[in-house]
Amino acid sequence: MANLKLDRVGKTYAGGVSAVENASFEIADGEFIVLVGPSGCGKSTMLRMIAGLEEITDGDVQIGDRSVNGVEPGDRNIAMVFQNYALYPHMTVRGNMAYGLRNQGMPKPEVEARIAEAARFLQLEPYLDRKPSALSGGQRQRVAMGRAIVREPSVFLFDEPLSNLDAKLRTQLRAELKDLHKRLGATFIYVTHDQIEAMSLADRIVIMSAGRIEQIGTPMELYANPASTFVAEFIGAPPMNVLPVTGEAARAFLAQEARVPDDLGHVGIRPELMSIGDNGIPATITLVEPLGAETLVHLKMGADKLIMRSGHGLALDAGAEIKVAVEAGALRFFDRDGRTRSA
C-alpha cells in the first residue's frame, strides 16, 4: 500500500511539446483518483510518468515516500491496465497473468494459486488456456485486470480501460471496478476523458486542461463549485450554462441577486437549479428533449441560449413563452479569465 506525491512535475517531449506543466498533488493510500480532461490534455503522459514509462523533465514523483525518478517501471510496485489491453498475443490467459510473477522468480505453486484466485474473482476460469485473440473485448479487459491484480501492487494505474467497450459493458465494468477497489484497498489512479466515469468512480477528481491541473476535489465539490468555466462546462451532462455578463440572460439573473462581485466575465447556472415559475425571467422554449425520468428544455433568453432540466411530464412545446425561476444561491461567478469569483 502506498501514498503518492507529485511535486511540480513537468514533461516536455523531445519535439518540444510541453504535455504537462507544474503538476502537484498528493494521493492518500487507498484512494481512488481519477484524472479527467479532454483528449490531448496530458492525462496519459501524467500516468505514464507515474508508471516510469516516460521520463520526467521537471519535478519529483514519490511513491510511498520514496522518490522514484530513475526507478524502473518493474521496480515501482505498480501495475497498469492499458486502453488497448496490451495483452501478450502469443501467450494464453494463464501465461499473461503468470508473466509478471515469473519475472519476480515466484515459485510455481504460488503463481498458480494467485492465478486461480484472480480467475475466480474475475470469472475467467473457463478461458485460462485461451489466447487473447479468442476472447471478446470485455473478457480481454478482465484479463488485463487479472494481470494487474495477481501482482498485488500497491498502486493500480488505468489508462482509459473502458473506452473500447460498448456502453452497456462499460457501465457494468465500472461497477465492478469500484467493487474491486473496495476489496483490494489499493491506491487507484484512473485516466478517462469521460466525466461520467470520473464522477461515478472517483474519491477525488483531478481535472486537467492543456497540460495544467484545473481543479482537484471530490466529484460533488467540482460539480457544485467549479474553479473555472472550463470545469463548469466539462463536468455534468448537460453542462453548466455559462453566460457572458454582457448578455441579456446574465443581466436578468444578476438583477435578482443581492450580492454580485465586481469584474465579472461570466455567470454560471446548473440546468437543474432553474424551474418554470409564475414569475421570473421570461424565456422562449426552442426545443424539448424528453429523456424519460427528466426532460431537457432548451431555452432562449434574448440572444442567449441555455438548457434547463425539468421533471417528466412537461406539457409544453417549442415556441411556448415561460417564466424561469432560479433557486437561491444557484449562480456561480467567473471573472474575465474564466476563474471563479466569490460574492
Partner: protein
Amino acid sequence: MQKRVVFRNRWLPYLLVAPQIAVTLIFFIWPAYQALETSFFVEDVFGFSRNFVWFENFTRLFADKGYLRSFWTTLVFGLSVTFLSMSMALALAVAANRVLKAATAYRTFLIWPYAVAPALAGVLWYFMMNPSLGILAYMLEGTFGVDWNHYVNGNQALLLVIIAAAWKQISYNFLFFLAGLQSIPKSLIEAAAIDGASPTRRFWTIVFPLLSPTTFFLLVVNLVYAFFDTFAIIHATTNGGPADATSILVYKVYSTGFVGQDYGSSAAQSVILMVLVIAMTVVQFRFIERKVQY
C-alpha cells in the same frame, strides 16, 4: 463485390498476357524442359552423338564423392549465411528501432549492400581479403596474427564466401526485421517492463516470439538465396576453389557443364536443384499461408 473488366474483343485479353507467357515459356519452361531432357542423355566429347541412358547421370552423381561433398558444402554454406545475415540484421534492426528518429541515415547506409550487384559484392570482398594486397587480410595478419590465404586454405575460402554472401543479404533482412519490429505495439513492451522484465528478457519473451512470422519468412528466403542465388559471388571471389572447397551445388552445375563439358551430368544436377527449389517453395507457401499461430 468484385470489379471485373469485361473485354469486348475476344483476343485482347490473350494478347495482353502473351508477353508474360512468352517470357515464362522461353526463359523458364523451355530451358527447364531442355535440362530435364538432357539429363537422360550422355553426349560424346565432340557433341556429334548422344545416347539415351535412363537415370545413369543421376546414379553416377550420387556415387560421386565430390558431388556428395558439394551437398555438404552447400548445407554448411547455406545455414551459415542464413544464420549470420539474419542475426546481424536483427541486431541492427533492434538498434535502429530504438533510435528511429535518427535512423534515416542509418537505414540508408544499411540498404546500400542490397543495391550492389552480386558480382561486385564478390569482387569487393575479393579485394579486401586478397592475401597480398587486401586491407582486411592485412589487418587480420597485423592484429590477430591470422595468416589469411583463401587461395590455399579451403576453410578460409568458405568463410570468405559465407561472409560476402551474408553481408549482401543483411540489408534485405534488416528491412523486414525493422518493419516487423515496428508492427509490434509499443504498449506490449511497456506492459512487459511494468511486469518487471529486463530488456533482454523482454526481447526473448515478447519481441522475438512476435517476430516469428517475419523470421520464418526470412529463413526460407535466405536459404533459397544462399543455395541458388550466390553463384555470382562465389564465381567472382573464389571460383569454387580451392579444390572445390566453395563449390556449392549451383556452382557445380556451372563447372561440370561449362568447364567440364559434361552436359548430361550438369543437366541432371540442375534437375536435382529444380526439385529442391520446388520443395522449398512449397514449404514456404504452406507455412506462410498458415502464418505462425497466435
